[in-house]
Amino acid sequence: MNRMGRTGLAGAGVLAVAALVALVAPLLIDADSLDVTRVTAQAWQPPGAGHWLGTDHTGRSVALLMAQGTGTSLFVGLTAAVLSVGIGTLVGIVSGHFGGLLAGTLLRVTDFFLVLPALVLAIALSTVLPRGLGTIVLAIGLTSWPSTARMVRAQTLTIEARPFVERARALGGGHGHVIARHVVPSVVPLVLVNATLAVASAIVAESTLAFLGLGDPTRISWGAMLHQAQLHGAVPQQAWWYLLPPGLAIVVVVLAFTLVGRALEAVVTPKR
């Protein structure tokens, strides 16, 4: 197996572990140990016996917070990516398949959102909408679809120029037939690659929004932990055990998604 395949496999392994933690953590962790009003341990404890990753500013175990936050980060990353790639695929196929005013308008809108800084729009959206997990997913999903749309549109145009599509049309195949039988199967691999990479950027985007205080206040996520760490002065207190784990977890998971995405990309678009 080549290098790309090996790193992709390693990435997939990391993701399997993260998914396992996300599924098991809520079942094993006692809700009381994450309740600020009920914790008994001292605040700002460095790693040691009992708390092998130390405690945060309220005395909660950083290790437990990390495990509990895995689910939120993965959930937001996955759902936002599905939303973003879903919109992108729909817009891409429609603007590639149908010509005329509709395609022109869609293309114009796509290009417009493509150049705008997605984070700025996501910040604006999550400020005006009520705080919550759904808002973050919407804010990320609604602002990150244009690159997928461009790619899917290009692929749609390429495939529709091929003789077998012309043949299908000549035999009386309508829009629905051409899209369902020829366009969709040809864009699926591309869309899968895009979705994997989209999860990576969605997780970073979630952590950034949470860090800016726009996250769901009732949920623990890695970004929200870093928000709290910044707010309560983990940096001046040199509380590395509070600062390192959430950031490292984000980097590792995002890198894993990126590596899997690149490995898939290498499979889908073979080198000439």
């Binding site: 150049v115 005006v128 950034t208 870093l226």
Partner: protein, 316 residues
Amino acid sequence: MRLAGRFGGAALSLLMVAVLGFFLFRVVPGDPVVSMTRGRPSTAAMQAELRAQFGLDRPLHEQFWSYFTSLLQGDLGTSFTFRRPVSDVILERLGPTLLLVGTATLIAVLLGLWLGVRAAWRRDSVFDKVTTGVSLTLWAVPTFWLGMLLMMVTGDLFPSRGMRDTDTAPDFVSQALDVGHHLVLPSVTLVAVVCAEYALVMRSSLLEEMHAPYLTTARAKGLRDDLVRRRHAVPNAVLPAITLVFLRFGLVVAGAITTETVFSWPGLGLLFYDALTGPDYFLLQGLLVVTAGAVVVMNLLADLLHGVLDPRVKVV
């Protein structure tokens, strides 16, 4: 004709920015006054007065028209938290951001392009593997976290808050040195994140040129490897990379918001943070319109620049 098209497209985009700014903040959130007074005691009469003050009691099309005509005159409304015109507040914060973003972009472009060229020219060498690996990792690193880490690791070596100390001597040299000292950590943070992207872009751009026939010709003429790279490959490969640098200006904007928040750098990014914690809708709307407008203009510049630099692209 194409040139007119480009300008027309940019003008249309700017119009869409204005429309987006209006609808995002006036239609989506329901009643801005309710959010403005959230957490503060307010009577129905006070809310009605606020509504009248901001013109929110008028029909939507009238609101849009007055918003749009004021926008054309550079009037972005009044900030709720600063109690001053939004345009004044934004202008005041522009300088520090330009300094930070300018410094970081310049270093990131030079460093990123150099790394990309080196990596692509010796593909699969140790240098290439390290550069690509580090770039991919940095791409996965949240900007704000990198800033916090740098701050913790360097300890008291560099100031970590603001742009200048209050007790610095007022003469130009000591002021400049002080600002430079404060600039180190924020710009290193911003460079690290942005530079990774540029290196990857430059690398793939040069890799596309690697098997071009003109390079074989250059080598057949007996040119040294070094000259083939500098005189033939890089000038061709750098064009799309430079355009992409301009196109990804949005990336720098996003990086500036989190970097300035972490380091309390008194620029537009920190203003963004202040506006969203308020929340100060008019300030946020003004910032959205200004940054999005700046990105649109940068894109137009990229288009025009590409046409000037690369005669193969016909813009005019």
